[in-house]
Symmetry: C2
Subunit: 264 residues, 2 copies
DNA sequence: CGTAGTGTTGAATTGAATCAAGTGTCGTGG
DNA sequence: CCACGACACTTGATTCAATTCAACACTACG
C-alpha cells in the first residue's frame, strides 16, 4: 500500500531545512502534471523516496525536476556529455548504448519505470554512454550535486542511494557472468525472465508484456546477433515455453524457462 | 602466521571503539606495521582518503581495521555471507568469483592494491560473490555502517565514495561491452592493457609485470577457455606484441596492442 | 500506399570450445 | 635436497554454436 495521502493542505511544519519552502509546495501542485510529487508517485518504493518519511520526501521533491516527456528516439544525454544529473524513469523506457569506433553500437542497459539512469557518469563527471527513449517516456531529473547535499542532511537518503548504486554493481556483475558463460538460449531465457520480474515490480503482468526494444537492441545487449535472437525466440516458442507475436511476449512456462538456465 | 603480534605490550588503549581519539594515534604508531595509517599509506590517492584533509583522515583511520595478512587461497568472504564491510587492498591481489550450480566458477573481478572490494553486497546486505587472495596479501577492512556514519560528517568522503561506486559501475559496463562484442584476441589485449595501467597506478611497471592469476582465472573472467587464453598469448607473442614467460608478461609494443582493439 | 525499418528463415562459414595428449613448475614431505 | 604429485600450461585435431551472408516477409507510419 502506498504512503500516499500526505496532508495535501499543510505547507506548515516539515520544511525547516534548506533555505526556502513555500514556493515548492506550489510547484508540486501544478495542475497539468498529475502524479507530479514524489509522495504521490506510484513508483515511490522503487525510486529514491523509499525509506524517507513525509517531510524528507518534501525535501527531495524540491530538487527533482520533472522534465517534459521524451518521445521515441530522443536522447536524455549523449556519451561524453558533462555529468549533471541522474534520472528516474517515470513512465516508458530507455536504452543506454555506446558506439564503437567501427560504428557499431552496443547496448549497455535498458531502463523501466522506477529505475535510475546515469550513474556511470558520477566518477568521471562525463556520461560513459548515450541514452535514449525507446518509446514516449517521462523522467524525473535529479541534479546530482543537490542529491549529494541532501544526502548529507538525510542519512536515510544517503543510505538508500548507496544501496541503489550497490544494486547496480551487483546487477552488472550478474550480467558479466551471463555474458561470459551462458549460451544464446540461456541468455535469452534469462533476459525474458529478468524483464518479467521488472515488469512485476511496476505492477504490470510478469507473464505477458510488450518488449519496448527491437531484436537488434536485445542482441546488442546480450552479445548476440539479431538473427540469433530471432531464432532463439522462435525455438523457445516451438518448445512451448513462450508465445511470441512481434513485440508481444507471453511466458507460457516460467518454470521450464528457469530450467533452461537451471544449471547456471 | 598468527594475527600478528598486536601490540603485545599495550593491552591498554586502542580497543574501544569510536568516540575516542587520542588512543588512535597510539595505534597508528604501532611499530611493526609500517605504513599503517591512512595518512602515511602510499596508496592514499587511490583509496578512500583522497580529498580528505588531515583531521578527516584521522577520523577515517579510526574506523579502518587492518587485518592480519591473507595467504594465497584465503577467503575474504564467501558468497552469501552477511555484508559487513568493504575492503581496500593494501598489498597483493584478490579475485572475486561465483559458483554456478553445475560447479563451474566464473571470475567476476580482480583487485589490485588501492582497489575496493565488496560493494556488490551493499544493496542486498549479502555478498554476491566469494573473494579470495591470489597471493600473500593484506587488506584494510572498512565497516560499512561506520563508513556511512562518517560520510554523514564528511561531505568529501561521501562524495568520494559515490565516485568510487560510480567508477565501479562505469568499469562494469565497459566489461559488458567487451564481453558482448570483442573477439578472444581483443579481450586478451584489452585485459593486458588494463592490468598495465592498473599496475602503473601503484607505481609498478606498466610494461613488465607478473600475472597474479592463472590462465584459467583469466579465461573465466573474459569468457574464454584456458586453452584459448593460452593460444592467444602465444599468438600475441609470435606477432611480437608481447613476451610471455609463464606468469611474467612484457608488453613489447603497446601501440600495436591498442591497435588490436582499435576498431572497438 | 509505398518505403524504411524490423523481423524471419535458410545455407555456408568460422572462431572458439571441446577433447586429447602431452610438458613444465612448484610446493611438500621424505 | 631431491622426488613426487598436483596443478598449471601448451599444442594439436575435431566439433559445434553462433555468425555471416543472403533473400524475403511483415508492419507501421508519414
Amino acid at each position: 500500500m502506498s504512503p500516499r495521502d500526505m496532508s495535501s493542505n499543510s505547507p506548515t511544519v516539515n520544511d525547516n531545512k534548506i533555505t526556502m519552502k513555500p514556493q515548492t509546495v506550489v510547484r508540486k501542485i501544478c495542475p497539468h502534471n498529475a502524479n507530479v510529487s514524489c509522495s504521490s508517485c506510484r513508483l515511490n518504493e522503487l525510486c529514491l523516496p523509499i525509506a524517507l518519511n513525509k517531510s524528507e520526501i518534501h525535501l527531495l521533491d524540491e530538487i527533482v525536476e520533472r522534465n517534459r516527456p521524451y518521445k521515441k528516439g530522443d536522447h536524455l544525454y549523449r556519451q561524453n556529455d558533462d555529468f549533471k544529473s541522474v534520472y528516474a524513469v517515470r513512465s516508458g523506457s530507455f536504452k543506454s548504448y555506446v558506439l564503437s569506433n567501427n560504428g557499431q553500437g552496443r547496448v549497455t542497459g535498458f531502463f523501466l519505470p522506477g529505475e535510475i539512469i546515469g550513474m556511470d557518469g558520477i566518477a568521471s563527471k562525463h556520461y560513459a554512454n548515450s541514452t535514449q527513449a525507446l518509446e514516449h517516456s517521462s523522467i524525473c531529473e535529479i541534479p546530482f550535486s543537490q542529491l549529494e547535499k541532501l544526502s548529507q542532511q538525510l542519512p536515510s537518503l544517503q543510505h538508500h542511494f548507496f544501496a541503489i548504486m550497490g544494486n547496480e554493481i551487483a546487477k552488472d556483475q550478474q550480467i558479466h557472468t551471463l555474458l561470459s558463460s551462458y549460451t544464446a538460449e540461456e541468455r535469452t531465457a534469462s533476459f525474458l525472465l529478468g524483464l518479467s520480474s521488472r515488469f512485476a515490480h511496476v505492477a504490470l503482468s510478469p507473464i505477458r508484456y510488450l518488449l519496448p526494444m527491437t531484436r537488434s537492441d536485445i542482441g546488442e545487449y546480450l552479445g548476440l546477433t539479431v538473427e540469433t535472437v530471432s531464432r532463439i525466440l522462435t525455438a523457445l516458442q516451438r518448445k512451448g515455453l513462450i508465445e511470441v507475436n512481434n513485440r508481444e511476449i507471453e511466458l507460457l512456462d516460467i518454470e521450464a524457462l528457469r530450467q533452461v538456465i537451471g544449471s547456471k
